[in-house]
């Protein structure tokens, strides 16, 4: 109730995991934790679907529908008749994206 952030699209296939632990290095929310034979999903609800884990997994043991959780961009996309999930409208887009003339929304990551 009143929590839209309990489910994500993150899927880990433990059988494919070779325990290289790259996912634990790139995840900014400690979603993955080391296990005896393979990594485990320690905090799956904290996944922000950035896609870093899947992109850096050398054996494709992780899948996630990555994207930016930005309501402004998604609503802008919907208002322009575009697909909210297309990723066309997101922070850091080029001038022609749904974010208009501003290249960047104010993602909380300027100093990173």
């Amino acid at each position: 109730m009143l929590d839209s952030y309990t489910e994500t699209t993150l899927i880990l296939e433990p059988d494919r995991c070779i325990n290289c632990r790259r996912c634990t290095q790139v995840c900014p929310h400690a979603v993955f934790a080391e296990g005896p034979d393979h990594v485990v999903l320690a905090r799956p609800a904290s996944c922000m679907e950035c896609g870093a884990c899947a992109l850096n997994c050398p054996v494709q043991a992780i899948t996630v529908q990555s994207g930016v959780g930005c309501a402004w961009a998604m609503i802008s996309a919907a208002l322009r008749g575009k697909d909210m999930d297309s990723g066309e409208c997101s922070c850091g887009g080029a001038d022609s994206t749904c974010c208009g003339t501003s290249q960047e929304q104010s993602c909380g990551c300027e100093e990173k």
Partner: protein
């Protein structure tokens, strides 16, 4: 350490122009190989540039020239760090590396910070591999390792970078300021790997948040001032201020998880004094005071909740799936509340014009 780099504010530009130093440190000193020289000093001009970036002024112009930079007096075995060509990202890195001899490989992220650019793919495998090749990095250093900020990982595939360039990617800590500690062992502590959203990080976002809604807020305030009086105008200002300035500050302290419901709570609290003011207006019939009290109770929470929902893009933890759920769950309610509130307001206004109240 080489600090002989000019960073004359009068000659500094935020735009990338050949031969002109950018805001991100001194870049006058370009060698024949195209490698530039920089330092770790954050000058007053840099600070002004950071201030303007925070306020969203010339949003696309806070750029550093992409390419390879020498920091200090690096040799063949010195570490190589990747960064974005956004001045705040680049300056955070070079200032954190004060006293170190290193190379900084600046990718062309079109003036966007590392994390956002990684999400968009401009801080990505293709650009990293291309920049390694263009700068001849393999001839500059004897090792084949590049330290990439952890938040660049959503755009970088280390197996692909290795395959295409021969360079292995080492993911450094989230925050550049942790680099000196990280470099002692090249191992990040769990805390170095976690992204937080402390109050300082939330507060610095307020100017841009305000900037996004400044014009419509001003128009609404002026319109309400003439159409409904100073209290209504103040209510508009209060709703916008609550959603863009107060909300980021109070974010973790407002109960509930969803941004929209947090916004409703905050907006509801802000609306109470205005509702009380309209409810106690003298000389009006009961239906008018009731309707007058309902208008702020309907519109202010809806506006604040909408602004709060839009703050999701500024945070460091919201998922696309969750935000999408919020949009479908709450935006129709916001629209309904605001719509009813506006209609009530119009009815009251017309009633006043025709002398009914």
């Amino acid at each position: 350490m080489d600090t002989d780099t000019t960073n004359n504010p009068a000659r500094c530009t935020c735009l990338s122009e050949p031969g002109v130093p950018t805001c991100g440190g001194g870049t006058d000193n370009v060698s024949k190989s195209g490698t530039r020289t920089t330092d770790s000093i954050i000058t007053p001009a840099n600070r002004l540039d950071h201030f303007l970036a925070r306020w969203g002024v010339n949003r696309e112009g806070h750029r550093v020239e992409p390419g390879l930079y020498r920091l200090g007096n690096p040799g063949h075995d010195s570490p190589v760090f990747a960064s974005a060509n956004y001045t705040l990202s680049y300056d955070a890195l070079r200032s954190a590396l004060a006293g170190y001899d290193a190379f900084i490989l600046v990718l062309d992220t079109r003036g966007i910070n590392v994390w956002c650019a990684a999400g968009k793919g401009t801080f990505g495998t293709e650009e990293l591999v291309r920049r390694i090749a263009v700068t001849g990095l393999a001839m500059v250093v004897s090792h084949k390792k590049i330290i990439v900020p952890q938040l660049g990982a959503p755009g970088i595939s280390w197996p692909e970078v290795l395959r295409l360039s021969g360079f292995s990617v080492e993911y450094g800590p989230v925050r550049a300021r942790d680099l000196p500690e990280y470099l002692k062992t090249h191992t990040a502590t769990p805390a170095m790997r976690r992204v937080g959203f402390p109050i300082r990080d939330r507060i610095v976002l307020i100017p841009v948040e305000l900037g996004h809604v400044a014009l419509p807020a001003l128009v609404a305030t002026v319109a309400l001032l003439f159409l409904a009086g100073p209290v209504a105008a103040l209510a508009a200002l209060a709703a916008v201020t609550a959603g863009t300035a107060l909300f980021p500050v109070l974010l973790p302290f407002i109960p509930t998880q969803d941004f929209s419901t947090k916004g409703y709570i905050l907006g509801g609290l802000v609306a109470i004094p205005f509702a009380a003011a309209f409810a106690s207006a003298p000389g009006l019939p009961g239906w008018a005071t009731t309707a007058g009290a309902l208008v702020p109770l309907l519109i202010i929470p809806a506006v604040t909740a909408y602004l709060a929902l839009n703050f999701t893009g500024s945070t460091t933890f919201t998922s696309r799936t969750g935000v999408k759920k919020e949009i479908f769950r709450y935006v129709p309610v916001m629209a309904l509340m605001a719509g009813i509130g506006v209609i009530l307001g119009i009815v009251l206004g017309i009633s006043r014009l025709v002398g009914m109240i």
